[in-house]
């Protein structure tokens, strides 16, 4: 190929790249807006007044013509036996605490047991644990068990499973710890450090990225747990936040659009904690999700 031809074709490619680049940005931005649109809608609708919604019920617009805290005031003066943001939030945190203060450490130790210690029967147990039936299979028997123990209506059915560590933490960290250099643990053995020392002084701190990912995902899983919270917590004031939110929607929205700000205010408040958690940990989360399929 002659040199001039190359220059021309390069220029053509460059022009094409610029056009393509602009189009790319346009598509990416439109999709980004569509992605966050429900959240923007949630946030802004919480600041409309009932009056405003009634007045402009036929047209769509996003930003309130006049910011009003009507929805939030109504929300916090709601009959606490039907909905209480604080109660729901604390109920959820109670279950989260079982994970953060107990389940996480049990899970880390279990992951270490699977990943670092080479013992007989390891692989068989690992596979047996990973092959589980769909959750509906265990739903009824677990309910029967907790019912016979007289624990339905208490927090125990939600909390007890976390005392044993969770699948996600154990098997995600197991893979991560396996990738740590074995020499680290061998050196610790030579130094006379026992297994618990190796777990909490070496494996745990070195697995920080994986621990963060699993803390966030497990926190989110508990936050969004609907089924167990609904069937085991029988009293309205015991329900976790997300389930309580469903109840609020049923109580408020008897088809009246004008009450929408109350629901959107509640939705906004209940979204904030996990949204903040995600934004704080996004670097780890996004990379972990990206790696899920590449590593398999």
């Amino acid at each position: 190929m002659k040199k001039r031809d190359t220059i021309i074709s390069n220029r053509a490619i460059k022009a094409r790249n610029i056009a393509f680049g602009t189009l790319t940005y346009a598509v990416l931005i439109v999709i980004a807006i569509a992605t966050v649109f429900p959240f923007l809608y949630m946030f802004f609708s919480g600041f409309k007044s009932s009056e405003e919604i009634r007045q402009f019920s036929d047209v769509f617009y996003l930003i309130p013509k006049q910011f009003s805290t009507w929805g939030y005031e109504k929300l916090f003066s709601f009959n606490p036996n039907q909905f209480s943001f604080i109660r729901g939030f604390l109920n959820t945190l109670l279950v989260e605490a079982a994970f953060i203060f107990v389940g996480l450490y049990v899970g880390v130790a279990t992951a270490y047991g699977f990943a670092v210690i080479d013992f007989k029967g390891r692989n068989a147990v690992l596979i047996a644990c990973l092959i589980g039936p769909p959750f509906v299979v265990t739903l009824m028997p677990q309910y029967a068990m907790f019912s016979k123990l007289g624990l339905v209506g208490t927090f125990w059915p939600l909390v007890i499973p976390h005392f044993f560590g969770t699948m996600g933490v154990v098997f995600y960290l197991e893979r991560y710890m396996k990738s740590l250099p074995p020499a680290l643990f061998e050196a610790a053995t030579v130094d006379g450090i026992g297994h618990f020392g190796k777990i909490f002084k070496i494996a745990f701190p070195l697995s920080k990225p994986a621990v963060i990912v699993q803390v966030v995902f497990t926190f989110l899983g508990i936050w969004n747990n609907l089924l167990e919270s609904d069937i085991y917590l029988t009293r309205v004031q015991d329900k976790t936040l997300q389930v309580m939110l469903m109840g609020l929607n049923n109580a408020v929205q008897s088809g009246r659009a004008s009450d929408q700000p109350i629901i959107m205010a509640a939705a906004t408040l209940s979204s904030l904690p996990v949204l903040i958690l995600y934004l704080l940990s996004q670097k780890y989360i996004v990379n972990a999700m990206a790696g899920a399929a590449v590593k398999g």
Partner: protein, 290 residues
């Protein structure tokens, strides 16, 4: 010689003990919360046993509940719905792939920003999000106002499943995009440059280079997507009041609430057969990896 051997095995014995000790919580958990319940569920499915009735023992072993499930048009309709709702899976794959491909273009800046934004729906409060979508789909809600339509998005039996698919695509394309994007980062630039020299356009590069090389990721997403789809439950639970879009798990949940326990057992195992059939590639990979 014999001394070292016994010393080694002593160490190995200690390691065995430590290993089992450390994994014991998970073993106990799996036994109590998975293994025993699975057999219990299987047992109940073959009886007429009302597990919660005080003092009642089951009277007979029977195949009645399996017969009832297999003859139930409601159950099969819910299976059909489950499969229908999985239309969202190929859409998520294509959309995720396409966006990842755009994002992978070297000239695009703020890649990190876009990746973080696209994944937000997957890490948000489920009910809060469901309530917003419920409002979008309302008869005098946002979609009808914007599009000038007059649809009963969540009520009309002919529409509701498609509405749920739209919402599922919104909530799920972020993760497929992230995985495809990660895979594309591993594709050598040289391949694209070679294609450039051959005069291949963007579409050709996308379908002839990226797509075949990312097949393992597509496979992974398909397998996990199908087993996730067979377990679909939450959207019906949070957004829909009718039964026109009821999934298999949601139908089983309804039977559970209604107290029809043997039926729950039978239907759960019929569903499990499907899940197992579609999870075989995943199991094989798991066995191979360990």
């Amino acid at each position: 010689m014999t001394k070292t051997k016994s010393k080694l095995s002593k160490r190995q014995r200690s390691e065995n003990r430590w290993g089992w000790f450390l994994i014991s919580p998970m073993v106990i958990k799996v036994l109590i919360f998975v293994v025993i319940p699975t057999f219990y569920c299987l047992f109940v499915s073959f009886t007429d046993y009302n597990i919660l009735a005080v003092g009642q023992k089951f009277t007979k072993f029977t195949l009645d509940s399996y017969r009832e499930v297999l003859h139930s048009t409601d159950f099969w309709r819910s299976m059909y719905n489950t499969v229908y709702l999985m239309i969202s899976l190929p859409i998520r794959l294509i959309l995720g792939f396409f966006i990842a491909y755009l994002l992978n273009n070297g000239a695009v800046r703020c890649k990190g920003f876009f990746r973080v934004v696209y994944y937000i729906p997957a890490v948000s409060s489920v009910v809060a999000v469901a309530l917003v979508w419920k409002w979008f789909f309302n008869t005098d809600g946002v979609f009808n106002e914007i599009f000038g339509t007059d649809l009963a998005w969540l009520i009309d039996p002919a529409v509701v499943k498609n509405s749920l698919i739209i919402k599922t695509v919104w909530g799920g394309f972020g993760s497929t995009m992230l995985m495809y994007f990660a895979g594309m980062q591993n594709i050598s630039e040289d391949l694209y440059e070679a294609a450039d020299i051959d005069g291949a356009g963007g579409f050709i590069k996308m379908t002839k280079i990226a797509l075949p090389l990312l097949r393992p990721i597509t496979l992974y997403l398909l397998v996990t997507g199908i087993s996730g789809g067979l377990n679909a439950f939450a959207d019906n639970y949070t957004m829909v009041s009718g039964s026109a879009s009821s999934t298999a798990v949601f139908w089983i949940y309804g039977q559970f609430i209604g107290g029809n326990y043997p039926l729950v057992g039978a239907a759960s195992f019929i569903l499990t057969l499907f899940v197992v059939a579609f999870s075989i590639p995943q199991y094989r990979k798991m066995v191979k990896d360990n």
